[in-house]
Subunit: 269 residues, 2 copies
Amino acid sequence: MIIIADNLHVMQPPFARALTSLDPVPVRAMVEACLQNGAQGLDLNPGPLRKQPEAAMVFLVETVQAMTELPLLLDTTNPAAMAAGLGACRGRAIVNGVSLEPAKLERILPLAVQFDADLIGYLLHPNSQVPIDAADMMALAVDLFQAVTDGGLDPRRLILDPVVAPLSWQDGARHNRAVLEVIGALPDLLGIPVRTIAGISNLASGAMPLDRKIALEQAFVPMLAAVGLDMALVNVRHGPTVEMIRLCNGLLGEGVFAWAAGLATSDSN
Amino acid sequence: MIIIADNLHVMQPPFARALTSLDPVPVRAMVEACLQNGAQGLDLNPGPLRKQPEAAMVFLVETVQAMTELPLLLDTTNPAAMAAGLGACRGRAIVNGVSLEPAKLERILPLAVQFDADLIGYLLHPNSQVPIDAADMMALAVDLFQAVTDGGLDPRRLILDPVVAPLSWQDGARHNRAVLEVIGALPDLLGIPVRTIAGISNLASGAMPLDRKIALEQAFVPMLAAVGLDMALVNVRHGPTVEMIRLCNGLLGEGVFAWAAGLATSDSN
């Protein structure tokens, strides 16, 4: 399981301010912290970028890749920003992402195809509603697989995200059991070893003591590992959560779940 | 996931001495510790009991059930001791256990049938060798299911144990990946919601710092929870391991994996 830091997020005020002022100093400090905390990939989430989308995204990608060659997940709903970011990426980029929402398929999917980038696909209904159960998720996976293939994407570029539910949701536990079931079933369902990603931070989002958040994340990470999750999007400042991912990788032997599309898996301890 | 204490074991010198002298005092102290540490069932492993098998097993069962109504797993290879223990049990007993080994099927299986007890079946070859991969485990599960059914056992009484490998084994990690796969697949394979049990203590057996053992157990427990394990045999003195089982039960909603055969699941926090 690859550790992707979700720390570079527009909801972090220093990051948001740096994006507005195009000031690389705070971004560098945040990237440095992610690297020290074990990140093996970085999700760059600058938000919708209504102002200066291209300049802000290019600034962000260039600032980060001046420090590291780790894979970058470009996490914006703004197609202009996505296109500019993909153009600026020297290494392999991952487009984060699309769903069956028509606007995403029309404006984001073609960019992944154009740049031959990996593409994250969320298992959500076209109106962005979450699926009601595992069967619903599986049907969405089939539809999404078909949609991105029809759009010209090499299916080996697809990474599916079944959308972890916050436990604060009324049906959060039931939803997440379905998430586990679906992650395990997707390769057989789609007939290819499709990669999967999950947002660990979603699980215990909201107001909750930090030690409780981390305990829940530590319980959830091995569950995801057991069903073969490939990429975990985590807050890498949650040290025990990151440590648990490493432990799971060691326990299961990372080789079996190695990243399929040419991205190095440097962590196999 | 039900927490079964594996602490009452002949390898514990005070327990072995108490069995020889039929002294209830040390046994009571050990049971009390198990209850305080969250046990929801107790595995009683007095070893092969070559001397006074009946008297020692009856002493053990009576001493324990005078203190608790928790389910008792009678864990001996001695058929005379098993018969005597089953006769002494007032509550539901669990016979631990059989495999495809002919002597077990001939002498232990009939006792489970006679006393209408739950029966643990180990996924091992008739010569007690461990299976080489998941397909081998599945074949053993089918054969064992057939053998115990042919022997007259109500198939709902069967609890399968796929035998967790120590990580110190050369192929331990690979074996345990197969264990996870098989636990998840067994209900579909056998066509009934067959229950499963696994020995968590096996994982990190041998010389290893205690904190490392507990960390590995904490990583492995949620993996087993994710694939639907029903009963975890653990050293309940490993508090963080027990705490992790509780957390997993909460995270997944224990109701879904409730114990099928009428044993109460008191823990659903």
